[in-house]
């Protein structure tokens, strides 16, 4: 499958969101436009379900636009369109359902781009960080509309934050050695802690949000089962090679498109999406912005590290953790932890399902308390928690690997 065909397929996937949004039953153009404007003005910190803010139609349009902006940046910067960039597009579109807007992502992208200019490098060398770095979009919205500082100061803050992301993102990789797939989430979590501290010092009272949509379940479920199912159908011709792909541990950097080609990758992406959707259904969760955003992100990383065999232990671990504790598996925190917790899929891929289940269990405990650290301004809260969990797991594993085996000689 040529790069041009890949562009066509994924552009159509993003355009489909716009079309579904425009045709969503019970919503006319005026209500969609009104909803879209509401979404642009909302702070968007975790957890703000855009379905509740602006309606389903406007949210899907927002999601498609955010994805298309990412796709456009990849195209015009002549970046190789492959695993990491596919992951970035679907992550952006997914968070376009609960936090990212065309307005709040630009300052971060500009900041990251400026970092490349200052290093006399080209935008292509930082594009992956720029796209994933839009996780801090709510920083811009929160400062502009939540704290009412105005859009200009918010833009400057966003650019300044974007400026340090490339350096930080590359640096924090060492902590978890590529075992946390949402590395920029880990980065943005750390940066978010400092931003939260500074804004608090400036006298601002930063609060988390809890807006969760629970209507039109049947319609949303049906549409997105078909949306992801079609992906598996499109990639079905590569199902035999998908088995080879499932043998890969998935640690950064594992580009499935480079490893086995597009059809098996597409098949895997579709299956990963169907697993995410089925999990929501099985635990009695709700199809809404955050949960569907979780599935979108899983699907994106279905081209860049996640596959059927390395995600289930994490999901099982989170489910087990919820059942053993006081949490309901279908409550917002645990259900998002199960979907986004697959950021640690390489742990299961490398160390096996038992360690993977354990990682999922630990991940749930960390992610349930990590949101307030960055006041919900880092949308990839699970990436942040995953970075913390990955750091511990990798640290301990490394230590175990390095234990001396010379006891006999010492005697």
């Amino acid at each position: 499958m040529t790069e041009k065909t890949r562009y066509i397929i994924f552009s159509l996937y993003m355009l489909a969101l716009l079309i579904i949004g425009l045709l969503w039953p019970g919503e006319d153009l005026a209500s969609i436009w009104g909803g879209f404007q509401e979404i642009m003005k909302t702070p968007g910190v975790l957890i703000t379900d855009f379905f509740s803010i602006g309606g389903v139609g406007a949210t899907l349009i927002n999601s498609g636009l955010v994805g298309l902006i990412g796709l456009g940046l990849i195209y015009f910067s002549k970046t190789h369109f492959s695993g990491p960039t596919i992951a970035a597009i679907f992550t952006m579109a997914g968070f376009g359902l609960f936090g990212k807007t065309p307005i709040n992502i630009w300052p971060i992208i500009l900041g990251v781009g400026l970092a490349a200019v200052l290093k006399k490098d080209n935008f292509r060398s930082v594009i992956v960080v720029a796209l994933f770095g839009t996780a801090l979009g709510p920083l811009v919205s929160q400062v502009a509309f939540g704290l009412e500082w105005g859009y200009i100061p918010a833009v400057f803050l966003g650019i300044g934050t974007g400026l340090i992301l490339p350096a930080m993102a590359s640096h924090v990789l060492h902590n978890h050695q590529g075992f946390n797939l949402y590395n920029v989430g880990f980065t943005c979590g750390i940066v978010g802690i400092y931003l939260t501290a500074m804004l608090t010092l400036a006298g601002e009272d930063l609060l988390l949000s809890s807006v969760w949509y629970s209507q039109e379940q049947w319609e949303l479920g049906l549409v997105f089962f078909l949306y992801f199912g079609l992906m598996a159908v499109l990639g079905f011709s590569g199902w035999k090679d998908t088995k080879k792909l499932w043998k890969l541990p998935g640690t950064l950097v594992t580009d499935f498109v480079t490893e086995e080609g597009m059809p098996p990758t597409l098949f895997n992406m579709g299956l990963v999406g169907l697993i995410g959707m089925s999990y929501i259904l099985l635990v009695g969760g709700e199809f809404n912005g955050p949960t569907l955003g979780g599935v979108f992100t899983m699907v994106g990383f279905g081209a860049f590290g996640k596959h059927v065999k390395n995600i289930w232990p994490l999901m099982a671990g989170v489910y087990l953790g919820a059942v053993l504790s006081s949490y309901s598996p279908s409550a917002p925190g645990p259900i998002l932890a199960a979907l986004f917790g697959t950021t640690l899929a390489p742990i299961a891929g490398n160390f096996g399902p038992v360690i993977g289940i354990l990682a999922g269990l630990v991940h749930l405990s960390v992610v349930m308390i990590s949101g307030p650290f960055h006041a919900g301004m880092n949308l990839y809260n699970n990436g942040f928690a995953g970075g913390l969990v990955g750091t511990v797991f990798v640290g301990v594993s490394r230590w175990l690997n390095q234990r001396p085996h010379k006891k006999k000689e010492e005697k």
């Binding site: 970046t79 590529g178 950064l252 950097v253």
Partner: protein, 114 residues
């Protein structure tokens, strides 16, 4: 201009890992700046490779250079604590050559255009 100095270090680390994994007891490395390119050569006396293994390594080494990944993920090169061989060198280099035979060690040469 990329952060090529850090990348060179990572590439050498990764090639060293590969040599150690092959049981090498002697490893020679050289880095030569030649006009607008850097040539890195690592030679070891490890177990060498049979045809099947060589194909696998060549698949990794002959990947196209990935400018969008090398600055960001390049810092992971040579960091694998599990002693995995080559994973990132291919995407950080423009050209590669492997000379090897079973039981006779391996010599890998890679070039980076600056």
């Amino acid at each position: 201009m990329h952060s090529y100095r850090r990348n060179i270090r990572g590439i050498i680390d990764e090639l060293f890992n590969n040599a150690i994994k092959a049981g090498a007891t002697s490893i020679e490395a050289s880095v030569n700046f030649d006009g607008d390119q850097v040539v890195i050569k690592v030679k070891d006396n490890g177990s060498g490779m049979d045809e099947e293994k060589l194909k696998e390594v060549e698949k990794k080494l002959y990947r196209p250079r990935r400018e969008e990944l090398e600055d960001y993920y390049g810092s992971l090169a040579g960091q694998s604590f599990q002693g995995k061989g080559l994973s990132l060198v291919g995407m950080m280099t423009d050209k590669a050559e492997v000379i090897t035979a079973p039981g006779k060690g391996t010599e890998i040469t890679v070039c980076i255009k600056l």
